[in-house]
């Protein structure tokens, strides 16, 4: 799902164009330092690796995943290389059961087709496979997310007198979020990305609260976790609002609050995610470098 990877890029561009804060960069620095401080001396990682490893873990127990390019693809491929060897990866370019040996740059990389169980047309992947509700997990990125895990990837309001800032658009996201059994989201944590109010609703997460998905006729249960480089947010079962439930090692709760554009609710007990294992990091780095650590 090419929507996703560009969320990062677009955020960067928007940051360039507008005078928003640089929470992401700050978070990145902090996380990196912390990891080095608290991890096993032999194991260090980047904030992106931390995020990707935790996103991969969130796929535990899933059978089929509709995968976006970029962070979601990295996470899904890592899951397939570690805890979920039978995970079926489905790309909107029409591949069912892709088994790439390295991370594809685009959803059109030839290896996705060459290693697939079946290759179908783009209309078929959307109609017979996604819309039909056959897919357990949809894995999305986002440019802007609100407290109900709704997503904007269309336009940014750049203020009075300025034209809208252009984002890449919807791609597959509206129907992925509607039709998959559940949705995972992965994106970097900043006040620019986690906003009080979306400038445009491209994709509905939990709408305006409980009952909205049913009212709109959205099949799946919607977003169940938003994994960032700072921690994990999950919707409160009562209010459907995102709540901070876990932080990554070395991250503090105030740091997450500061990086969130709305008054973030905090779970009664905030867990701390397990640091990446050496095996996870090795598998992730092998994927990124094009190697293959499997036997």
């Amino acid at each position: 799902m090419t929507v996703n990877n560009t969320a990062t890029d677009t955020a960067t561009d928007t940051a360039t164009d507008t005078a928003t804060d640089t929470a992401t960069d700050t978070a990145t620095d902090t996380a990196t330092d912390t990891a080095t401080d608290t991890g096993s001396p032999a194991v260090t990682w980047t904030p992106d690796e931390l995020m990707t490893v935790n996103a991969a873990r969130a796929l535990s127990g899933s059978r089929t995943c509709f995968v976006g390019i970029g962070l979601p693809s990295a996470a899904a491929n890592l899951a397939r290389r570690t805890s979920e060897p039978d995970l079926v990866l489905i790309y909107e370019s029409g591949t069912l059961g892709s088994k790439p040996s390295r991370l594809p740059l685009s959803i059109g990389d030839g290896e996705l087709a060459a290693t697939a169980d079946a290759v179908v047309s783009v209309p078929e992947i959307f109609n017979y496979w996604l819309q039909a509700g056959r897919i357990d997990v949809g894995f999305l990125g986002a440019a802007q997310v609100d407290r109900f895990a709704n997503i904007n990837t269309t336009v940014i309001d750049r203020g009075p007198g300025r034209s809208e800032g252009r984002l890449p658009g919807a791609g597959g996201a509206p129907e992925i979020a509607a039709s998959c059994g559940k949705v995972l989201m992965v994106l970097r944590h900043s006040r620019r990305n986690f906003v009080e109010k979306l400038d445009f609703v491209t994709t509905v997460g939990h709408g305006s609260g409980p009952g909205d998905r049913a009212r709109l006729g959205l099949l799946g249960e919607g977003p169940v976790a938003v994994i960032t480089d700072l921690g994990v947010l999950r919707p409160d079962p009562e209010t459907a609002q995102l709540v901070l439930t876990e932080i990554h090692p070395g991250v503090t709760v105030p740091q997450v609050i500061e990086a969130t554009g709305w008054k973030l609710r905090i779970a009664d007990t905030v867990g701390v995610t397990e640091p990446p294992t050496q095996a996870e990091l090795a598998a992730l780095r092998a994927l990124k470098s094009g190697g293959d650590t499997r036997a």
């Binding site: 970029g70 269309t154 890449p168 039709s179």
Partner: protein, 269 residues
């Protein structure tokens, strides 16, 4: 019945000012060479249709070829923004660009309706999204059996569809394989179809996962080896990921972009 001819002649005959043109290829088999020929011939005022505008439409838009874009995801896959697309939308440079914006599911179904020669297609889509507010080609229909309200999208029927394929035979039958995207639908939805191919062969040997467009659905075939670069043709070429990365700095700046087009398109064959 398809004629086999030069790319220049085929574009001159089939693509006209003001046409609605779909150049498809979902991240694979993108017909870049044909797009460059459109730029060289100075064809303009096009309505461009494509699910993923990609670098190919960034180039056409940056050269002012298009007055309108119909699409569902406009980025440089794996890299970032399409800067010429953004510049046109945000700043009207080199000319304003109208948008008709969909989701992928919606666009795919618009082509399906077009290929089926139905006026619209039905999907369970766009629910709760702001997208329908900005498009006149998204509406609703009610199921006459269940009462469920569903999204309806208007058919796309381009004047011309341009695709790139691996092979054609001498009679103009076309064969493509690998990620076949929405090309069959885009071709069958159009009034005129132009196909550039890597190779022209005596006989099309059957291939797994291949789509065949019979000669009588194709109007012109042009032999253009590597005609998808920097995209690729599975079995013939590989995706030039470096080019996609390099496009980001080239396209950020108007002058750098124009210089690149001059050197690599206008002054190229």
């Amino acid at each position: 019945m398809a004629d086999i001819r030069s790319l220049r002649d085929a574009v001159a005959e089939l693509v006209h000012d003001g046409d609605t043109v779909a150049m498809e290829g979902f991240t694979h088999l993108i017909p870049f060479a044909a797009a460059h020929e459109i730029i060289r011939q100075g064809i303009t005022d096009l309505t461009l249709v494509r699910m993923t505008p990609d670098v190919i439409y960034d180039q056409l838009i940056g050269m002012g070829v298009a007055r309108r874009l119909v699409f569902s995801w406009g980025g440089n896959p794996g890299v970032g923004s399409l800067h010429r697309f953004r510049d046109a939308v945000e700043n009207g440079w080199p000319r304003p660009l109208e948008l008709d914006e969909h989701s992928h599911a919606g666009m795919a179904n618009r082509y399906v309706a077009g290929a089926s020669r139905l006026p619209f297609a039905v999907l369970r889509g766009y629910r709760g999204s702001d997208l329908p507010e900005r498009s006149s080609t998204i509406a609703t229909v009610t199921c006459p059996f269940t009462g469920e309200e569903l999204a309806a999208v208007a058919a796309v029927n381009p004047d011309v569809t341009v695709i790139h394929a691996q092979r054609a035979d001498r009679r103009g039958n076309v064969q493509l394989w690998g990620l076949v995207g929405v090309q069959k639908e885009a071709a069958l939805a159009a009034d005129r179809v132009l196909v550039t191919v890597e190779e022209i062969v005596d006989e099309l040997e059957p291939r797994p996962d291949a789509v065949v467009l019979p000669s009588w659905t194709v109007h012109a075939v042009a032999h253009v080896p590597n005609g998808a670069h920097p995209s690729y043709a599975a079995g013939y070429t590989v995706r030039d990921n470096d080019f996609y990365q390099a496009w980001d700095p080239i396209s950020r700046d108007r002058e750098t972009f124009l210089a690149w087009i001059r050197e690599h398109v206008l002054e190229a064959p």
